[in-house]
């Protein structure tokens, strides 16, 4: 019987990304040895997130209110909108403390061969925000890969009829890296995106 409940926990944990059978086993026995309150805290947090978290009705960030903490913050700059692929991207940009505007989450990126068409993303909602709100600049911060770039180009096309400035985050070399190890595509993008100093 006891074997059964631990086995069950191991099987459940392997559903998480990057967790194989061995790691799941290690985690399961660690949970077993934790103080009961700590372990229950994890379980409660998971249940709470699944019961209460949903997408912000304006920007599609994750929130437990109608509006997320960024959309409802009166001190944010409402003229700037930063477009990202996933809610987790917002967290990373916020940690950089270099952006004080609002966000818009697409919930994915365009990918023709995977069937990710524009109507599967929150692009229509983005255009509506630009049409209705006082947005002056849309900063496209999709990933610096082919899917992210195609998405950025598509959005730029769709926003052409509006008098809004559309910018794309710069491509560049990673800080702390050595030019010698950069590949030709990364380097040519970094050169294209050079600026005067």
């Amino acid at each position: 019987m006891e074997q059964g409940i631990i086995e069950n926990l191991i099987t459940e944990l392997t559903k998480l990304p990057g967790i194989g059978r061995k790691t799941a086993q290690r985690l399961a026995f660690f949970i077993l040895s934790m103080p009961a309150e700590d372990a229950k805290g994890i379980a409660r947090a998971i249940i709470e997130v699944k019961e209460k978290a949903h997408f912000c009705k304006v920007c599609f960030n994750v929130t437990d209110n109608e509006l997320c903490h960024i959309c409802s913050n009166p001190s944010r700059d409402r003229n700037k909108l930063c477009v990202v692929e996933e809610p987790s991207n917002i967290m990373v940009i916020e940690r950089s403390k270099s952006f004080d505007g609002l966000y818009h989450v697409l919930l994915g990126a365009l990918s023709p061969i995977d069937g990710y068409t524009p109507d599967r993303l929150k692009i229509h909602e983005l255009i509506e925000r630009v049409r209705k709100d006082s947005i002056q600049e849309v900063i496209i911060a999709t990933n610096p890969n082919t899917k992210g770039e195609m998405t950025a180009q598509y959005i730029r096309e769709m926003l052409k009829p509006f008098s809004v400035k559309v910018t794309r985050i710069a491509y560049g070399l990673p800080i702390g890296g050595d030019i010698e190890f950069a590949d030709e595509v990364t380097l040519s993008k970094a050169l294209e995106g050079r600026r005067e100093i």
């Binding site: 023709p112 061969i113 069937g115 068409t117 524009p118 082919t146 195609m150 702390g176 590949d183």
Partner: protein, 245 residues
């Protein structure tokens, strides 16, 4: 065992936190999948070498029969960056990628398909008529993998006919069709374009300048044929329609 070969990235699928499963078309081994550790991290040594269409020398590690060898190195021969730089040309290239992925079994080397793909990418990069190139690729590719539609004569008896039957992948004469009519008609102009696209060299194919209507007519027939064989439409085709429509 460590293997080294030359390949073209067709697709990448995110796996776990920062890993990728990369599908390559190679000359030596046909279609292969490889597991790449952490390429999505900004400082990854793979850099941009795993972006779709990148032509590179790759090394991977794994037992002879392993389904997912581990990618240890990829050095770019040519990035085909300009095809990815424009939404329009990448959308066209996506049709090429998707049809290739759908018709070729894994680990079944086909040198001819590999060089056709390489030539098409070179042509796509240098020429400004992607639609004719994509149709040229589809027709040549279908022929190489044994699924070419037959448009010039009855697929059963060789007599002439102008009605195309999806179920036979061929034109049938009135006798062989037993009087059942097909709504897909092959005009002389469509047949001529099809023959030209089949026989002309990839580097010269841009000199064929059909009208948009004629090219769309042939393109629709080829796409219907592909859809019939795969029992599903190409996703990239639906994507192109959703954007232009």
């Amino acid at each position: 065992m460590l293997r080294r070969t030359e390949g073209i990235v067709l697709r990448t699928i995110p796996f776990g936190e920062a890993d990728l499963i990369v599908t390559y078309l190679t000359g030596d081994l046909g279609l292969i999948k490889a597991f790449a550790k952490s390429p999505r991290k900004i400082k990854s040594r793979f850099g941009s070498s795993l972006e779709p269409l990148t032509h590179s020398i790759i090394s991977f590690w794994g037992k002879e029969d392993t389904a997912l060898p581990r990618l240890t190195q990829s050095d770019i021969i040519h990035p085909f960056k300009s095809i990815r730089d424009s939404l329009n040309s990448f959308l066209r290239a996506s049709e090429i990628i998707e049809i290739t992925l759908n018709f070729i079994p894994e680990r079944d080397a086909n040198r001819n398909v590999y060089s056709l793909l390489l030539h098409i990418l070179q042509a796509l990069e240098n020429q400004d008529n992607p639609k004719i190139l994509v149709n040229h690729y589809k027709i040549k590719f279908l022929k190489l993998v044994g699924f070419a539609p037959k448009l010039d004569a009855c697929g059963r008896c060789g007599r002439s006919g102008t009605s195309f039957y999806l179920s036979h992948g061929s034109v049938l004469c009135e006798t062989c069709a037993r009087g059942i009519d097909s709504p897909v008609k092959i005009s002389a102009a469509v047949l001529k374009l099809f023959t030209d696209l089949t026989t002309w060299d990839t580097l010269k194919v841009h000199r064929i300048k059909p009208s948009d209507i004629l090219l769309s007519e042939l393109s629709d027939i080829i796409n219907m044929h592909i859809k019939y064989i795969l029992s599903k439409p190409l996703k990239s085709e639906a994507f192109n329609n959703s954007i232009s429509g």
